[in-house]
């Protein structure tokens, strides 16, 4: 238990901080606060360029984000107060943030490290559908399709659609059963794939603190696994979230939370979105003591992050983080395309290349078909993402931008067409847990095509 004192300090700030009406926090602290720093720090984005090339702009985004966070704080809904940290406190805490962590156990353990912009080291891959639902009967085979891939370093289980045929209900015994079931099935899938020590992120099926924490312990989520929780958009928390954090700290687990700002929401457009993503990642460490900090900024209508309007601020924000801190950062590929479409593969190319040269430590996904279509995911797109990570680590930002633009052209027109593809059972042979010839052929074609754009898969 490394952080008892800090945890107590956070709880006290949530009890003693300035009282604020939540709507005021939304409109004044977040929306107006972002508008202020965007103006003061002259944040202006070239909206034709996806991969940021401007180091000075990235540094100004960082300064704006620290200024903004010191002013806004994080709102605690349970107390109606703001958890505030001064600029000096933020900077001091960031100095002590981890810059590397071992994830997993035994020979399956992997080392996540801080990466700079254009860092030649390969990012880690959390190969996973990131909580997309699936029927119980396909749970283990679908998960094996990911963890059997050598390119996949860590994983996260899909979400159970039902538990023993029954609907899962938050804060009920059904949620606790589903939490245990998720852990049991995930551990079983990893054993069957011969990677029992691989870390998984959990627990995705449960939302509530009681549901999530019930299977976080012996027989369930291990302290070598990634313990996740999401904060509430934008920059909000409550005691349920802080309960999860407290338990994780006592378990000595790896704290792996996320914040997903909504594009066009309270954070507004690309400029303020870049500042908000940066501030949220800082807050995850400063307030929530994260070992690793993550995001999947979301489009309000397409529910993805592979559109230009989300990739541009993501690239800028992650460069701001990589240039000014040593935080272990991750982004999730949340794509509109599903298995059995070329759309998903092109989305993986654009997002993975953008993220690799922008300095993240780990990439998550891809969460296909926006994560909202039951069973529409498969391990093949994770294999492709892993191969892309290796190839993209040899690029500089200029080369990356060319490839990202080419890939983007291929799927831009599909973004609002819901090309959700096929169910796992229709793109994989369930006996061999291998992709069908049709799906494999599509993957080969796209891989060969993008190799011609300058991505070396050797």
């Amino acid at each position: 238990m490394k952080h008892t004192t800090r945890m107590m300090d956070i709880v006290q700030r949530s009890l003693d901080g300035p009282i604020k009406d939540e709507e005021d926090f939304n409109n004044k602290s977040i929306s107006q606060g972002l508008a202020r720093v965007v103006k003061e720090y002259d944040i202006q984005i070239n909206k034709d360029q996806i991969v940021n090339m401007d180091d000075e702009l990235a540094d100004r985004v960082w300064e704006a984000a620290v200024d903004f966070l010191a002013s806004s704080g994080v709102y605690c809904q349970s107390t109606g107060r703001v958890i505030l940290h001064s600029r000096e406190e933020i900077e001091e805490k960031l100095k002590h943030a981890p810059d590397n962590v071992w994830i997993g156990a035994g020979t399956d353990a992997v080392h996540e490290v801080y990466r700079k912009v254009e860092d030649p080291r390969r990012m880690l891959l959390m190969g996973s559908a990131i909580g997309t639902a699936i029927e119980e009967e396909y749970y283990i085979p679908s998960l094996i399709s990911y963890v059997q891939e050598p390119e996949v370093d860590v994983t996260m289980a899909p979400t159970l659609e039902k538990i023993y045929g029954y609907d899962i209900r938050t804060r009920s015994p059904l949620e606790i059963m589903s939490s245990w079931r998720e852990a049991e099935l995930t551990l079983e899938a990893m054993r069957r794939a011969g990677r029992p020590g691989m870390a998984f992120t959990g627990l995705g099926t449960s939302i509530s603190d009681v549901g999530q924490l019930s299977a976080d312990g012996p027989g369930g989520l291990r302290n070598t696994d990634l313990h996740t929780f999401g904060i509430i958009s934008e920059l909000k928390t409550n005691f349920e979230i802080l309960n999860k954090l407290t338990h994780i700290l006592y378990r000595d687990g790896i704290v792996d939370p996320y914040a997903n700002p909504i594009y066009g929401g309270l954070g507004g457009g690309m400029e303020s979105q870049a500042v908000l993503i940066t501030a949220a990642m800082i807050a995850l460490n400063v307030v929530f003591m994260a070992t690793c900090v993550g995001s999947s900024p979301t489009h309000p209508f397409n529910f993805n992050d592979t559109g230009k309007e989300v990739m541009i601020p993501s690239s800028l924000s992650f460069q701001a983080l990589a240039r000014n801190s040593h935080l272990l950062t991750n982004l999730t590929i949340t794509a509109v395309g599903g298995p059995g479409t070329k759309t998903i593969l092109y989305e993986c190319v654009a997002f993975t290349v953008m993220n690799t040269v922008s300095g993240g430590s780990r990439i998550l996904g891809p969460r296909t078909a926006t994560g909202t279509v039951t069973g529409h995911f498969s391990g093949l797109e994770a294999r492709f993402t892993g191969e892309l990570l290796r190839a993209a680590s040899k690029l500089n930002r200029g080369q990356a931008e060319e490839i990202v633009q080419k890939a983007y052209e291929k799927y831009e027109d599909d973004l609002n067409k819901q090309p959700y593809g096929k169910h796992f059972k229709d793109v994989y042979d369930l006996k061999t847990i291998q992709p069908t010839d049709e799906w494999l052929k599509m993957y080969d074609e796209v891989k060969n095509e993008v190799a011609g754009w300058g991505l070396s898969f050797d």
Binding site: S31, D167, T170, I207, G211, S233, G265
Partner: protein, 216 residues
């Protein structure tokens, strides 16, 4: 829109409450009826704003600010319109994210879109229990209950609200239920017995118009 409405339209677009209210009162002083101000200026302006947001040419903060101007004008006009037994509301909606779910941005976007399209929206917030939703709908004399859920384990609570309404004749005759959110789809909504389903905030407005039986 005629020239007399230019300043008011601009004030709404800019989210300038003070100018919006003063311009509206000036128009009334000049003999324009509040109901005319709404139908000839405010509604067309809000339609443009909603359209701009649907193309993400403007963002939620701007849309909220515009809605705030209109709310302030509505408050000023209320006594005048009540005297004439006129209403500018397209209908009353109670909106909530159901029990166990803390996601609110999607709901807030839907709320703002409904407001700029002329609906009166009572936002109950997130993690709202079934009985609170039903009581609030009765208290607000709502026409529609709009429910949001972003996580699968929250879906049963959406169904609970629908079931409770189905089981109560008085509630069934009063409320329509529309649903949306990540794991909700048209098929689920139909099976659950919802009256309407919106895939996103734009469709939610169309659904609300349809349910309220107002022209789209």
């Amino acid at each position: 829109m005629t020239d007399q409405y230019v300043n008011l339209g601009e004030a709404i677009k800019k989210g300038d409450v003070e100018t919006g209210v003063s311009e509206s009162l000036l128009l009334v002083e000049r003999g324009v009826k509040p109901i005319e101000i709404f139908s000839e200026c405010i509604e067309p302006t809000l339609a443009v704003i909603g359209d701009q947001f649907s193309r993400l040419e403007i963002f939620l903060p701007e849309m909220i600010n515009s809605a705030e101007v209109v709310k302030a004008i509505q408050n000023e006009f209320k006594p005048l319109m009540e005297a004439d037994q006129e209403t500018i509301s397209k209908g009353k909606i109670v909106i909530a994210t159901v029990s166990g779910d803390l996601h609110d941005i999607g709901k807030n976007i839907v709320k703002a879109m409904l407001e700029v399209n002329g609906f009166e929206v009572n936002d109950l917030g997130v993690d709202v229990e079934t009985k609170t939703i039903l009581k609030s709908a009765r208290d607000a004399d709502a026409d529609i209950i709009a429910l949001s859920a972003l996580m699968i384990p929250s879906l049963p609570f959406v169904k609970d609200v629908i079931d409770f309404i189905e089981a109560n004749e008085e509630a069934r005759s009063r409320f329509k239920v529309m649903v949306g959110g990540g794991p909700v789809n048209r098929e689920w909504a139909d099976e659950a017995g919802a009256d309407g389903y919106g895939d996103d905030a734009i469709e939610a407005v169309d659904v609300a118009y349809r349910l309220i039986d107002a022209p789209a």
